[in-house]
Symmetry: C5
């Protein structure tokens, strides 16, 4: 298969994974496992930080230090209003790192209030981490790859809702 | 017609289109079709990413890689409060890419709660994508082109409301 | 009168005006007219974009292309919560362009929910555009010029409320 | 007393003051007066802009033009929700100028809804301007100076609440 | 133990501590004490500013002046809505300094409304400052160090909630 990562082809993908100790599901391991399944030769670097607000800085440092082709970052957000505010700031931060470094950074974010059932929450987290790990690999292979699903109502953490006919 | 794209004239427009797999309407195709109708010689590059928060980074990478004259980006925003927070972060991100790159980036954003009727939502999405594709071409032709409609209460996705007399 | 624009004196003011087709009052023309009244020799460049989120990028491009001494940008914001979120992002964007370019950018923003009476809304828009056009010229003449009204409770779009005695 | 401003000692402080015509109390004059009391030899530059969203750009221009050692900026925020959104954007802007220029910028912000009693509001504004003018001078003298009050529950505009024992 | 701080090993850690006079608990001293316990040879620089909005600029200046390997910053946020808005802006600011400088900056933030019981609030503040001081040292030793606790539901200020089984 011809590979276009970002734009220029790369012999062997180098992918960064950053997760948190705040999360209640080990989504980082799910992402690592999924990346290895799709890209067995990929080099994976994994760092862990306390919480989401520590991710943007770590993402920048990891890209600077290791020259990753792309990153998947996995955050967990509490139920409170201030947690949601932290989420806004975090989202701005992650987007800035993507803009400044020119590297795709896919963020997997689980909000604790997505479900009151811990088991359901775990399922959401695992499904989302897995699907977004695939998304990152697809984008690194070819930024046009996902166009076949454009507007198809894909969801991560939940079943796809599909397009509006 | 004399053409001023951004500021300096360009022989053949190169326009980028970025949409998402999260969207439930294939707005990217609508935009591509409309651009071709107005500017048959335009070169169009289309990428697709999972969701809105992936758009700003992709926009920066696309401009860096392909030197597009302008971009139209098409996002879909869920109903929840956190979706709206993602929208704020996304909006800041897109504006920053426009500021950093010096290229016009028109964003077409549909909010899932604009209508409870899926058909209506689809109509909104298509109309908005089409009208903003035209806006992008107009701006690339001449940044003064839209002044004839300044303050005229134009809407995309809905009928124009018109100026207050 | 001795003129200090920004900081260094400029022979002839070059002022940029950016407004939108979304607005329901042609505030751009009001601003142009007012600038001409105060500064008959000023060179005025006017661009129009679809909505507020398109203004920051256009402001940056206009300053880069034309080297304006300052800008007045005129936006119109809808009634919905998401319109207000767009307003936050827009405000951050405009401030960044001011910080990055070192040029004064006065923003005239009218919120559709400032009045339920269209005529009143129109009056607000015109008064605000006019007064802020003056403010821009004053600031370009001398950044110390407005100090005589510091803390005086001046309002644009409404009558001044005055200082607290 | 040995003086460390920011980090390196400066013979004579150059302090910038930026306030607004929107404010209903002349806090800029209060700040100027207080700085002169503490630092009689300080050179003070004062600019006035229409409202808070004009402050970050003016702060950047003032530092670039005059090379101030530090700034005190004084803003007044209305009661409405959109005023609070402007406040967020303003706060981000001011912080960015501080980050980009490497100069301490202390912001004195009064919210119109802090009190329904105009006299009380005036007292808050004056007290806050005065105390923060002192804070700026202290920080410019020595960034370690305030450590003796770390965690002491100091307030500006109100009486100190003190530490929790 | 082999030490990797950020990425490259450092002979002796240089850690910055920034706290506020607004806080009602001396969290800076707690952080200093904890760092010394874990890293007796660490060089610690401590600055104090009035409130959270003064921290990002101070963090940037401290890193520029002293070349710290990492920072712990300790903020206290009031109960009001505008305090929460200041918190968003602050969070964006801190993340930007981390992105721009490439240095880990751990923020310890206590919200006054986390408890109505001052004693409980004090306990939260001390526990959070202590645990995050450890987190900073761990990250500076090795950015992979915390991976053993990834997804384990660790909390600072409260007991750990643990992972979802």
């Amino acid at each position: 298969m011809k590979r276009i990562r970002g734009v220029s082809p790369v012999a062997r993908m180098k992918i960064g994974v950053i997760d948190t100790t705040f999360a209640r599901v080990d989504m980082g391991s799910v992402a690592v496992e999924e990346i290895k399944k799709l890209e067995p030769t990929a080099e994976i670097i994994r760092w862990t930080v306390p919480g989401i607000k520590d991710i943007p800085g770590a993402a920048k440092r990891m890209i600077d230090a290791h020259g990753c082709d792309g990153l998947i970052v996995l955050g967990w957000v509490g139920r409170e209003f201030v947690d949601k505010l932290s989420y806004v700031a975090y989202s701005v931060g992650i987007m800035l790192v993507g803009i400044f470094t020119g590297k795709p950074i896919i963020d997997v974010t689980v909000h604790e209030d997505e479900s009151d059932d811990p088991k359901k929450l775990r399922e959401i987290a695992i499904d989302r981490a897995r699907k977004h790990a695939r998304n990152l690999v697809y984008i690194l292979r070819d930024p046009k790859y996902l166009t076949k699903w454009a507007g198809k109502g894909l969801r991560q953490g939940y079943p796809d809702v599909g397009p509006i006919k």
